[in-house]
């Protein structure tokens, strides 16, 4: 009843909205009336819950089905204005959508949902502003709640929908948000096929692109490969509605989202064969749950030992129709008040469930090996999670950097580069978890701009930062802007910027990247061209014998100055050759400027400058930009401390009433007396979440070979360095040792590690002492036995006597 009532209410509200909007369309009045009457009929007659279709057969039913749009109408694939299919109506016809939407992947906004152990938060990244901020709707301690930062469900969906399975914030269309465009984009319904499709056509990369284009209601259809989706909802006006159809005024830019189904995939009854796997294939999970070390080539990667054994993700991370997927951590059963999920943890599967009276008590599920852990004192199993020894990269002196699908936007492919270097995530960091056991975690350090309010730091929107101080922070972009402009003035070759022996070219991201070249420029820094792997001046330093420029040089300079004029703003581009300064005059010819001393290069080579309104010369990019680009070359950092100080100064000038700070690398940076000061703050502390995979083979578990893998004076498990990383290149980054996160006493563990140096000797001595005691006991025992006459019988009188 509840479900139908909700459905009815939704239909009525939809009817009223659309009837008001589509006054010119008769259909808008007629077919919603039919829909209303249908809904009323359904509400009146269908009081029973939807039947669950599993009858005990292990066969996955063939899903040759008619697709429905979000209004419950059949989809006619050949119809030019066909709607995208809706999982709510198509899949929900047989599988209770409301029940599914309460599953773990979708219930994160519900206050009634079990939060469970803190997992990986969403990480809000803005590389230009140097922001990486963990977010979670669940009340996890490792993240900010989106609403506390002013992020609405609409914004969350647009930002993270690329790796969301739909539902949740994607369907929170009633949340108050004047900026939201749900009416244009539609809801982001649960994408059942995102996990359950077994078709090679299923393309989550396409899903991500559609979400980023604002085509929320079209994303599932595009990703399924059943049809081709065109247009962009993000370019449509706020007043556009899907029932209005194509934009007749613009067929190039503001093209309305539309779908053209591949009719060859439908039969004569308009049914499509949907290839379904009830247990999602690993590839589907890995779209959102991949983790990779950026420095490791793909061919060097090993899969999780369970995957290699043929166990699928969904074999352990199980769920029924409720989609409450078992997360597999030790205390999940207690959190969920459901003993059944205990079986799906490492211990449950390998060791059995304590207290169970059936087969679950035995362990060895799915043929798994029951570990003996020979030689391991049981204290290990009280202090450590299974993953501490068995999962993640082998701990070294320093943590490894990893990228994850959801944080670093992996798995989205196209001409553009979608993946990001930020956020900086470290693994493994051994942290004492909420259950009191030490487990390997992934860790990141929040980076954001904020204002101080007492002791609290209130994060600022990244957009505000890029708007106000973006010109200071985006050094690479500043150089790239000049290079792009210079491209127009070069007849051949590629414009490059040379600084400190590094040659920079424009990258695909409209910033700069180091380029390799055989011969370097004579000047440094210099704007130059790269041709045939050689750096040459933009204009050949040729001059006639009379001291005037030859024709070719003059044409070259004019061409370059004309190109630079496009990005000159209020300045005038000029070329300096020796002490002379040249500019383009009103007639378009090159003319020397009088009264201005040039700053030309050696050997008559031209240098390029801006002539400022006050008739002084300035370099094409400021000195600090040159320094920043040089310092950041080949690194993953976004900006330097010098840039940060300038940015903070600029922000203080814009808004002197507030104290602006920048949080990164585990520290708070702010201006005090005009200088950059560094301090600690709880908001800067790292945020961690447990890492369970990849599980290594037992032979590669920590301690499988030697106790000293953990118990030694400098064992990485306790004493590896954990260096805070972030977008800022700084020498003040926070640094910790592993034990600081483990809640253990470092000195004791160093001393305890040292005892392993003499442990062999100790064992030998103690065994020897035991042997002596045993011998003495044997002798005394024999004497007792002799006294008792057990073995020795008196021989009696000698018969010969």
């Amino acid at each position: 009843m509840g479900r139908n009532t909700v459905s009815l209410a939704w239909d009525v509200s939809w009817l009223l909205q659309n009837a008001a909007r589509c006054r010119t369309c008769l259909c808008a009045f007629l077919w919603p009336l039919g829909l209303l009457s249908t809904s009323l009929a359904v509400a009146a007659t269908n009081e029973l819950p939807l039947p669950q279709h599993w009858d005990g057969s292990r066969v996955v039913p063939v899903h040759r089905i008619v697709l429905y749009d979000e209004n419950g109408e059949d989809i006619a694939p050949g119809y030019a204005r066909a709607m995208p299919f809706s999982a709510r109506t198509t899949c929900g016809a047989c599988h209770d959508y409301a029940t599914i939407s309460r599953g773990f992947h979708f219930n994160y906004m519900s206050s009634n949902a079990v939060a469970g152990r803190a997992g990986q938060p969403w990480i809000w990244v803005d590389e230009r502003a140097g922001m990486q901020l963990p977010l979670a709707y669940r009340p996890w301690t490792n993240a900010w709640h989106p609403s506390s930062l002013g992020l609405t469900p609409w914004q969350m969906t647009l930002e993270f929908g690329r790796h969301m399975p739909g539902g949740g914030s994607g369907e929170a269309t009633d949340a108050a948000d004047p900026e939201a465009r749900w009416q244009v984009s539609g809801p982001l319904e649960i994408n059942c096929l995102g996990c359950h499709s077994a078709s090679p056509r299923q393309d989550q990369s396409e899903w991500a692109k559609q979400v980023m284009r604002g085509n929320l209601r079209w994303a599932a259809t595009a990703a399924s490969g059943l049809g081709d989706v065109g247009g962009m909802a993000s370019r449509m006006p706020d007043t556009w509605d899907v029932v209005q159809g194509p934009n007749k005024d613009d067929a190039v830019y503001a093209v309305a989202p539309n779908v053209r189904y591949d009719v060859s995939l439908f039969d004569l009854k308009n049914r499509a064969l949907i290839d379904i796997s009830s247990r999602p294939k690993d590839a589907r999970c890995l779209y959102c749950h991949s983790v990779a070390q950026p420095d490791t080539p793909r061919e060097a990667l090993d899969a999780d030992v369970h995957s290699r054994a043929g166990i699928m993700c969904a074999d352990c991370h199980r769920a029924g129709l409720d989609h409450n997927i078992s997360r597999g951590y030790e205390t999940e059963a207690a959190d969920r008040h459901d003993d059944r999920v205990r079986l799906n943890s490492c211990r449950g599967c390998h060791l059995g469930t304590e207290g169970a009276r059936d087969m679950a008590a035995v362990g060895g599920r799915l043929g798994t090996r029951i570990p003996a852990h020979r030689g391991f004192p049981p204290i290990h199993f009280e202090k450590l999670s299974c993953t501490a020894c068995h999962s993640g990269p082998w701990p070294g002196d320093r943590h490894t950097r990893v990228k994850t699908s959801r944080a670093n936007r992996l798995g989205i492919y196209g001409v553009a580069r979608w993946a990001t270097d930020a956020p900086f995530i470290a693994e493994p960091v051994f942290v004492k978890g909420q259950d009191g056991r030490i487990a390997p975690h992934r860790m990141m350090w929040p980076s954001f701009w904020a204002v101080r309010s007492g002791d609290a730091l209130i994060p600022l929107d990244a957009g505000v930062i890029t708007q106000s101080v973006g010109h200071i922070l985006e050094a690479g972009e500043a150089v790239a802007r000049i290079l792009v402009a210079l491209r127009q003035g070069l007849a051949e070759g590629e414009p490059v910027f040379v600084s400190s022996g590094i040659t920079f070219r424009v990258s695909a991201d409209a910033t700069v990247e180091p380029a390799s070249c055989a011969r370097m420029a004579a000047q440094d820094p210099a704007w130059a061209a790269m041709a045939n792997d050689t750096v040459v001046p933009l204009v050949a330093p040729a001059a006639s014998s009379t001291g005037s420029l030859d024709r070719a040089t003059e044409d070259g300079i004019v061409s370059i100055l004309s190109a630079l004029a496009a990005v000159a703003g209020s300045n005038q581009p000029v070329a300096c050759i020796g002490a002379r300064v040249f500019a383009i005059d009103v007639d378009g010819f090159l003319a020397p400027l009088e009264g201005i001393a040039g700053q030309g290069g050696q050997d008559g080579e031209a240098t390029w400058h801006w002539l400022l309104p006050d008739k002084t010369l300035a370099p094409l990019v400021p000195e600090f930009v040159v320094q920043a680009v040089t310092e950041l070359a080949g690194t993953e950092f976004s900006f330097t401390e010098a840039q940060l100080a300038r940015a903070l100064q600029a922000m203080a000038a814009l808004d002197p009433a507030r104290q602006h700070v920048y949080v990164a690398c585990g520290k708070v940076f702010e201006l005090r007396n005009g200088a950059l000061a560094v301090s600690d703050h709880p908001a800067a502390e790292p945020r961690a979440w447990p890492a369970a995979h990849n599980v290594r083979p037992a032979a590669q578990a920590l301690g499988a070979r030697q106790c000293t893998e953990c118990h030694s004076y400098n064992a990485p498990f306790f004493f590896a360095g954990v260096e805070a990383r972030g977008p800022l290149k700084t020498s003040h980054a926070g640094f910790s040792l592993m034990w600081q996160f483990e809640g253990i006493a470092p000195n004791f563990n160093r001393l305890f590690g040292l005892t392993f140096l003499i442990r062999s000797m100790y064992k030998t001595i103690m065994f020897s002492l035991a042997a002596v005691i045993a011998l003495a006991l044997l002798l005394i025992g024999l004497r007792i036995l002799k006294r008792a006459g057990v073995f020795f019988v008196s021989p009696g009188p000698d018969p010969s006597e």
């Binding site: 003996a372 049981p378 103690m766 045993a774 003495a776 006294r787």
Partner: protein, 177 residues
């Protein structure tokens, strides 16, 4: 569980020794004292054994009974260090006083109660050593490791009780002198 068994056993032993003292009234006669062959060395060994035992008892039973948590941290290192002293002492005493502690007719230096206590203590020391050393050898799985720990605890309890009785008897002899 072990905590209460240990407390009850020790209290019962102490009560038993007190009762023994009341019932016997008559002091134990000092047995004839043949001189030890190396009296100074033996005195050092006895002292080492006693100190080792005391440290083991305090670190082992102190945590188990009063702190209600297993041996941990620096206490473990102290405990393990003392175990070497104690095991060495017991082994040396078994050799040096083997004759004197002889349960047959040879030993007249100690009353038979003390002899039995010593050998009981030596036997439990052997169990104590093996129940710690064998689990270090990567032979025992987790259940056997847990069993070994339990065996270690109860062997330690037996050793403690034997030591209390031994000390009581020794005190009785000394008082009778």
């Amino acid at each position: 569980m072990f905590k209460w068994i240990a407390i009850a056993s020790v209290l019962a032993t102490i009560a038993g020794t007190g009762l023994h003292r009341l019932i016997r009234r008559k002091r134990l006669p000092a047995p004839p004292q043949p001189l030890p062959r190396f009296p100074r060395i033996e005195a050092v060994v006895v002292a080492m054994t006693a100190v080792g035992f005391l440290v083991l008892a305090i670190t082992g039973f102190g945590g188990a009974t009063f702190l209600s948590r297993p041996l941990h941290g620096y206490w473990t290192i102290v405990h393990v260090s003392a175990s070497g002293m104690f095991a060495t002492g017991i082994a040396c005493l078994a050799v040096m006083r083997g004759e004197a502690y002889g349960l047959g007719n040879a030993g007249r230096r100690f009353p038979s109660g003390m002899k039995w206590c010593f050998w009981l203590s030596a036997a439990s020391t052997l169990v104590l050593i093996l129940s710690i050393l064998v689990p270090m050898l990567r032979l025992l799985g987790t259940p056997a490791q847990s069993l070994a720990i339990d065996i270690h605890r109860y062997a330690a309890l037996v050793s403690l009780i034997a030591a209390i009785v031994y000390a009581h008897l020794a005190r009785s002899i000394r008082a009778g002198e």
